[in-house]
Symmetry: C2
């Protein structure tokens, strides 16, 4: 059933007011809004109906109304006005991103911090491999007394290295031989196809370096198998306590705990596959502990089979418009950054700074 325009307007106003004030909204407050040309009694009737329809809830008889999960859902999907980032906001996000980020996991960490700071909420950041990874190239570098460096160039263009120490002396020639054997037999092979016969083949071809092969292959296998979500990072937990709904320590703790635990590993499953920003309102959420909490997440492309995800966690009452806008901007900026790593371009935006 479609809502009347007026009902939508009332609902939107209530959610907006509730987002700012964190307190149940009464009919009078709504009636006093500048462009609301009805009396509180009229609003009251509308509110009663919206409550009956399940979009609003009443904490108790004589309190105002609070949006229900369904109410938020509607708000997020249809009612909320676009939040335009101000020039200042885009600028500070952009310069933050431009700081070069070296490694994958450092990136995840930094992005999480920036997002958390930009939204004043705890943030999640994650980077994961998509699809199957293989080794593009093996390199072995002698590093002195019985140790060498193994360098793997992966199909994702990640470079992984490991210093391997062995009790026996290793010669340059041995390493060359082993390197050739590995590059011949084990490149472009996914983890699933690392069979015993592959091990045997490498060891056969490696001649005097055969004894080194197992260590190298084990490490390679481990690297290729490493759980898809290479790194995940949560920061800014303390910002949760800024939110009035988490002045209740128990509530706060439940949420913080489930952020700390591996609950978040499930997050990817919940996220729809499309790109774009997605809002998980309260009960739609990953973990039961998060049922009074909303999660806003966005995916972005890192290129080369890697996918990134950033998100924030906050009260269902959070300012979806603002949070969504900032997250999207982040995601967009990051995608562009990775698309053309040489010429760090950032999306144009914020020409007309104003808030909605």
């Amino acid at each position: 059933m479609e809502l009347s325009e007026r009902k939508k307007k009332v609902l939107r106003s209530i959610v907006d007011l509730y987002i700012r004030g964190a307190e149940p909204v009464g009919s009078k407050a709504v009636a006093e809004l500048p462009d609301m040309n009805y009396s509180s009694a009229t609003i009251r009737n509308e509110m009663a109906e919206l409550t009956a329809m399940g979009y609003l809830e009443q904490p108790h008889t004589s309190a105002g109304r609070v949006p229900s999960a369904a109410g938020y859902r509607l708000y997020v999907d249809e009612l909320m006005s676009d939040y335009r980032l101000s020039l200042d906001e885009t600028r500070s996000i952009s310069t933050a991103i431009e700081e070069k980020m070296q490694r994958m996991d450092k990136l995840v960490e930094k992005v999480a911090k920036m997002v958390s700071q930009a939204t004043d909420l705890p943030a999640i950041s994650m980077a994961s491999r998509q699809g199957v990874v293989t080794v593009k190239r093996f390199d072995l570098i002698l590093a002195g007394q019985g140790s060498f460096i193994l360098v793997l160039l992966l199909s994702t263009d990640e470079v992984v290295n490991k210093l391997i120490k062995l009790p026996l002396e290793v010669s340059e020639a041995d390493l060359k031989l082993l390197g050739a054997a590995l590059n011949a037999a084990a490149t472009l092979i996914p983890a699933g196809e690392f069979t015993q016969s592959l091990f045997d083949r490498v060891m056969g071809a490696a001649g005097s370096a055969a004894s080194l092969a197992p260590v190298v292959l084990e490490f390679t296998l481990e690297t290729l198998r490493r759980p898809g979500n290479t790194s995940i990072m949560v920061t800014g937990q303390h910002r949760l306590l800024d939110q009035p709904e988490y002045r209740d320590v128990d509530k706060a703790q439940r949420v913080l705990t489930s952020l700390d635990e591996e609950t978040l590993a499930n997050l990817p499953d919940v996220i729809r596959n499309e790109n774009g920003t997605q809002v998980l309102v309260g009960p739609e959420n990953v973990a039961r502990e998060l049922k009074d909490t909303s999660v806003v997440v966005t995916k972005f492309d890192i290129g080369d089979g890697m996918q990134g995800m950033i998100g924030v966690v906050g009260p269902t009452r959070m300012d979806y418009a603002k949070v969504t806008a900032r997250l999207s901007y982040f995601a967009e900026s990051l995608s562009k950054l990775f698309a053309k790593p040489e010429q760090k371009q950032l999306p144009e935006s914020g020409e007309d700074p104003k808030e909605a």
Copy 2:
């Protein structure tokens, strides 16, 4: 002035009781302890004196006593009984550590998680270089169309790599030339001595690859300069909220915030240089925000010029004996692990499992 044995016994009992109960301790509670053979009145007199001496405090007239910072200090330095780890505890710590930890920063992360779990408090973990770092060896590996991998073997035996993409084509010969130039001119040179003339020398010797030199040298310099504390990690913040003193959200938030911020960068300065476990009681602490909080830290050796540090943050009332015991055990285990990476030995302990 030395305290009488009885005063010490009373003080210890009060701290112990307060640690368990988190509530001011009255004379009656102390008198009722199994091996306390005095009446509450006697205890009361002792308590009055201990209060006058500054070891105890009274929240208000009719509450029991609470240890003052000086009281905790004395407790930690002299009174607390050794906490013997139970067999179960040592075992679970040991197996946790035995899981191999790949990279330095992963290690820091894992250790922090384990410590936090073992102590039920937020934990800090940190690994940092000691002294000056240099490059032991440069390697450049061709990686296809205009990109190559730079591999640095540092004096700490860390291996750092970076995939460098350049607009121009790079030839194998160029890389060889550049590699030779780098190894000749820039190995064993600390960051402080990366002068312009060194840049010039490398570029001169690199011939046709001269244009690649600056990128490589810049990255090297950055790596060598990277702040001593390579990685720092804080986890388990949510456990702080378990402690009754942090049911006060504002207090909790202040502490969490200062954990999140870079306040911790100062930690190394505060820590005495000796090894061993150190307790920072309340006001002795790093940041003003932590004045109602204690920090227990231990250093451990990672070898090769790297130093590790683990610690926990909790209420001044925390169970120092237990926390100290667990931290020390962790540190000891980790040191041993790094001393002989091949034969993972763990310290013997917990033969006689019992709590003090």
